[in-house]
Amino acid sequence: MAKTVVNKHADLKSSIIPWLLILPTFIVVLMFTAWPTVLSIYQSFFRLKLNVPRFRVPTFIGLQNYVELFKSPTFHQVLWNTIIYVAGVVPISVILAFLFALLVNRAIKGIGFIRLGFFYPTILPMVSAATVWMYFFTPNYGLFNLFLQWFGYHGPQNWTGNPHLALLAVMIVAIWKSAGYFMIFYLAGLQNLPTDVFEAADIDGVNYLQRLWYITFPLLRRTTLFVTTIAFIDGFQIIDHIFVLTQGGPSDASNVLLYYLWEMRFNYQDVGKSAALTVILVAFILIFTIGNFALSERKEDRRVA
């Protein structure tokens, strides 16, 4: 009898402590992430436009906000821009990060400087970096244009004003900014890899590319999962450089979901539509994150089997 009581206490203790430990984070996440999301879903069913006197009181309009958004050509363009932006920035910056990590994961003299060089963009605040890039993109004498000319580029130079280049310009800045950051995760991953498998592979006479593809890359799968998830969320959420470089222009050519959301809420004062946009944005991120995770876990099951 006495023995079971002791056990029960121990059980209770061991089950309380973890809960207590995550409680502060849990509350903060609920208050600042979950609750605003719920609020946004609720608000997205109402017409509330603060700078139109008769729409200053919220009225229930069902799915009207969503219907209007999906009918609007601007929203179509914004959605399409966002897909191109994320589909370009995420894989390119992750692949670059992986290559950078392979490059700097060696014991050469002065490797510290090269590592610093790759990581440097991460230290700069995005707004300062974008301001510098704004001058790099200047036609005729901007550094980026001079650099391209040196490689024989003679195309248009008006990067932030040309509708065919503006989205590419903001993507270039985003990739330049984030690749070094993701490199750090890959570098940490590479340095923690077990050495015995590589020794075994060497004995079996595996060449460099085979080793990379069959051993290094699969072993870094967890890192890749983490990095792609972060990269994807960042791709949707980091828009500081768009404010500086293009303001979504010219003619919405570089307008993406979160920038459009900001315009809707703070410039157009349309609370209902901006809430609907928030819901769409959250849905996008959720679908990808869960999808990415599920895909990665399924692969693991197959391997174990």
Binding site: I16, I27, W35, P53, M134, N158, G161, S251, D252, Y268
Partner: protein, 455 residues
């Protein structure tokens, strides 16, 4: 038993969390009440001691030269009214002030008593119920009408709505064409006086090196945020891009012709970079370093450009289509007074408006910044006369005011302006013809503005 205790824990957890949410949900509602209580207490104290502190938001950064000037005006004001303390808050740019105020008001807090915001924000601020009209204060002045009439009517145009005055002009500018007078002289070219001569002169001043690369543009005309510097073209063709606060004029044939003229300057005359020019920041150094013979910019840059250029700088309004006609457009910010601010603070705020718009401060601000003095009587002061003698360009700027048309402003400005920008840039970039672009802009804008046509 084990299951039970886990369940109990979960229930407890949910209770704690939901309690905290309810608490969090209540908190913002409680805060303003507490604020009000505090305000009431403060007001009671003020009634006995008559001590008032008001805030005024300025759209400049703390390090800007304007900040020093404004600090000195606030200090001078405190000397004259020892019971009133004015606290200037330097928030960055116009959009930062706007953001800060919207955040405070949406969050249920008390806005500052005063703020300098864009003159064109008028309708949005009224529609959102943020500001109060100033007529009662003006009428209570011994010579209120004379005070109003002393402001240049071009600047006061953005203050009137439904027969009331909602703002007082403060830091005002016009769009200005700067030209390298030495280059004109060297090449024996006249100062342009029409669209045609502007195109010809700037075309001749465009210089290429032997590889065909442009080393000097005839003219740079920023169009990253294009409506403002486009307006002088529409005005110079005898119209404007809007008719009223809910009626646009984007597809007027004369506006379309103006869009075509801008495109012609690059495509036909090769005097200007093609497409949308994102050069608001680089146009001034380009001009100062001789990489552009003409630029369009604001008068607020005048002092800097005069200091930075090693040649004779000419300033003028934008030539109109017809020979001998000119046009420009007003810009800049006015002082607004906010709703939901205790009466004592509003009264004190008005005293500060009166104080800081006295001719001597208006003149001082203009001399030190390059903004145009907003009151006629400021130009009668000796310091101002002296300044205009020393800086003839500043005298010229004052003369240009007679060519100035009103700056584009309407209900739901941000959205309508974005529509105009979108299609104007599409035309500049050759994605649409000027006519198709302006027709579409007009259609979309009027669809937005239908909410305001029958209030």
């Amino acid at each position: 038993m084990k299951m039970f205790s886990k369940k109990l824990l979960l229930v407890l957890l949910v209770l704690v969390v939901s309690f905290s949410i309810v608490f969090a949900g209540c908190a913002p509602k409680k805060a303003p009440q507490q604020n009000n209580n505090q305000n009431n207490q403060q007001n009671q104290q003020q009634n006995t001691q008559k001590e008032v502190t008001i805030q005024i938001y300025f759209p400049v950064s703390t390090l800007a030269p304007e900040a020093k000037l404004l600090d000195s005006y606030a200090a001078a004001f405190h000397k004259e009214y020892p019971n009133i303390t004015v606290k200037p808050v330097y928030s960055g740019g116009y959009t930062d002030v706007e953001k800060a105020i919207k955040t405070v008001i949406n969050g249920g807090g008390e806005p500052p008593a005063l703020a300098i915001m864009l003159a064109t924000d008028l309708y949005d601020l009224i529609d959102a119920g943020y500001i109060v009209p100033l007529d009662s204060y003006i009428n209570s002045m011994p010579n209120g009408q004379a005070y109003l009439n002393d402001f240049f009517p071009q600047f006061l145009a953005n203050s009137k709505y439904e027969g009331k005055i909602w703002s007082i002009p403060f830091q005002r500018s016009v769009a200005l064409m700067y030209y390298n007078a030495d280059l004109l002289k060297e090449n024996n070219l006249p100062v342009p006086d029409s669209w045609q001569s502007l195109a010809e002169v700037t075309s001749k001043l465009t210089k290429k090196d032997k590889d065909g690369k442009v080393v000097r543009w005839g003219i740079e005309w920023p169009s990253g945020w294009p409506y403002w510097l486009f307006q002088p073209l529409a005005i110079g063709n005898g119209t404007n891009i809007f008719k009223g606060p809910a009626q646009m004029n984007f597809n007027d044939p004369r506006v379309i012709e103006a869009v075509q003229y801008y495109i012609d300057l690059s495509h036909k005359y090769h005097a200007m970079p093609e497409g949308v020019q994102k050069n608001w920041n680089t146009a001034v150094p380009d001009f100062e370093n001789g990489r552009a013979a003409f630029i369009l910019h604001s008068t607020s840059g005048l002092n800097g450009i005069l200091q930075g250029s090693k040649f004779n700088v000419g300033v003028m309004a934008v030539p109109g289509k017809k020979k001998g006609t000119y046009a420009t457009v007003t810009g800049g910010g006015n002082i607004y007074m906010f709703k939901n601010v205790p009466k004592e603070k509003q009264d004190a705020a008005w005293k500060f408006i009166e104080f800081v718009t006295q001719p001597k401060y208006v003149a001082d601000f203009s001399i030190n910044t390059g903004y145009i003095a907003t009151r006629k009587s400021a130009y009668d002061l000796d310091v101002m006369k002296q300044h205009l003698k020393e800086v003839p360009q500043a005298a010229k700027v004052k003369e240009l005011l007679k060519y100035a048309g009103p700056e584009f402003s309407c209900h739901d400005l941000a959205q309508v302006r974005n529509i105009f920008h979108k299609y104007l840039q599409a035309a500049y970039n050759g994605q649409m013809t000027p006519k198709a672009a302006m027709d579409e802009a007009q259609k979309e804008a009027q669809a937005i503005l239908k909410d305001f046509q029958n209030p």
